[in-house]
Structures are given as C-alpha cells and as structure tokens.
Assembly symmetry: C2
Homo-oligomer: 146 residues x 2
DNA sequence: CAATAAATAATCGTGCGCGATATAAATAGG
DNA sequence: CCTATTTATATCGCGCACGATTATTTATTG
C-alpha cells in the first residue's frame, strides 16, 4: 500500500512550505513599514497580548528555541521596541518587556491582520475553518515527532 | 469593520508558519538518513520527476530564487547527487542532472511520503482536500502580492 | 553591425531556525 | 553544607531564503 508518490503536487508538506513563503511575501511590505520581520512581529504580537514574558515562555508559544529567540530579542531591543531584563527572583530567567515605543507600535500594526485576511480572498468563517484544520495538522505532526 | 485582531491563535498565517516547522521536525530524521535537507529533498523529487532542469525552471516549480538555489545545488553536487552543467545551446543556462547515485537515492526515499502521511493522522481523501485548500490559499496570496 | 536591452546565474549581506554545546543559576541529595 | 543534577539562556556552526547587485550571455534595435 505505497499510495503516496514522490511528487511535489499533491504533497501537503510542499503546499505548506510554499504557502509559508507566499504569506511572507504578503507580509513583507507591511512589516517593512514597521521595521519588523515576520518572526519579530510574532514576538511583538505575543507581547501586546501579554507583556513581560520569559524567553522560554515565548518559545513555547511560538514553537521556537532559545537559539532562535535570543538573537531575535536582541535585535528587537536594539530597535528600541523591547527591553530584556534578568528576573530578580531567578537570575537564569530573562524577561522581555515592551518599551514605550513598542507599545505605540501596536497601533501602526493594527491594520495588518485585515490586510492579510483580504489577501487570502476568503471570508472570516472560511479562514477560521481552514486555520483550525491546519492547527490540527500541526498538533498531529508535533505528536508524531518524537 | 476591524474584525481581525493582533493575536496568534486564530491567525491562519501563524498556523501555517508553525505547521511548516512541525512538518520539518517530522521530515528531519527521515532525511538525515539520506543526507538531505528538506529543500534539497524537494529539488531531488523534482529531478526524479523530470531530470535535467534549469536553475530557473526549478525556481519556478519550487518558488525559490537563484540566490537560494545556486548554493543549494552546489551542495547537492558536492554530495554527489547531481551534476551542474552549462547548456551548450545557451551558455547563460545551468542544467541540473541526476548522477547515478542521485538516481539510486530515489529508492531510499520512496517510503518517505507514506511516513509523512501516517504522521498527519489523516486519510488520503482528507489530505488531498486539505492540500487543495492550502494550494488555493497560496495562489490567492501570490496573486495579491505585487 | 554596433549599441542597447533583456535574460540567466551567481555573489553578497542579513535574518531566521535548529542541533549541539556552554555557562550560570537554582535545586536536590547525601 | 557541599556536591550533583536540573533548568534557563546564550553561543556557535550550518543551511536556507530573500533582496540587491553583478557578470555573462543572448536578443533586440536603430
């Protein structure tokens, strides 16, 4: 029962891979205006939802390692959007907090989700349904990976 | 009508972004056994379907730039899986061809699509339907991007 | 047919993204 | 307490991935 062939078309993984690139191309001009990359934008969104998160906490939410986040957070700090402070309670922990400029940036970013939604050409219900399916796929893959 | 908020959950882009990472984690051990990365695997799959493709042709299929493909193809060549030759007809063009070892590698890779399909926990029909939706999303995004 | 434009790869710089490893702090055990 | 282990972040090396630029070849045009 070797049903699945070595092909690009018909491969859900290739579809996700290329959809991710396509998505980045849509975000790029919008994020350039804010001086952010997409992963940096994700960190900012996470901090706008809940300020003062640890590196590990952000990593769990965004599925990223400290080896990715540490330099990224340093760049956000250099850009003036966040501060990075060691926790007083536990000196191992680093906490990322929004700066005033980082807080102000939220308003400039507010229009982005609608721009992206428009670019997909789908209505809210269709997007929500598809998003739920992709999240379910992600969860299945994450469970399967040892 | 500012319906869409700055949140991670509910964002189809974040879902795709993280699903791509999850997918990579599943592929990694399978591809490590072949000495390939996922983008390298995509090039090999493309060449197994049609040997002797130009850099530009591969770029169109895989949605990648020459600045990504050139070094990647050089690594595949260094690994002994392909050769890179200038076209005799048009000296601007570089053609990637499978080596004997590259041809043999296809058999070792044959089981991978089934492994991945199993990891998704979905049946063939469900995967095909979801893949079609993600491809449609990709096309919509690519059209929207100027 | 020579000057110009277009096409094709390649190069360079920047920023992910991860695995492996290191460093330092906190906790556990004897 | 004092050592051993665990935890949290940081560092390093490698491979994408892209935009901007360059080099070379081919096609076009006056």
């Amino acid at each position: 029962m070797n049903d699945y062939q070595l092909k690009l078309d018909g491969s859900i993984c290739f579809a996700i891979y290329t959809a991710g690139h396509a998505m980045n191309r849509v975000y790029k001009p919008l994020l350039d205006a804010l001086g952010l990359t997409y992963p940096q934008y994700l960190v900012m969104v996470s901090l706008w939802q809940e300020d003062g998160q640890t590196v590990g906490g952000l990593g769990e939410k965004l599925f990223l390692e400290s080896s990715t986040l540490t330099p990224l957070l340093k760049r956000l700090e250099a850009a003036g959007y966040i501060r990075r402070d060691r926790s007083k309670v536990d000196e191992r922990v680093v906490i990322a907090r929004l700066s005033d400029e980082g807080i102000r940036l939220k308003e400039k970013a507010a229009a982005i989700p609608n721009c992206i939604a428009n670019a997909t050409g789908r209505d809210a219900a269709g997007l929500a349904r598809l998003e739920a399916e992709i999240v379910a796929l992600r969860e299945a893959l994450n469970k399967s990976a040892v």
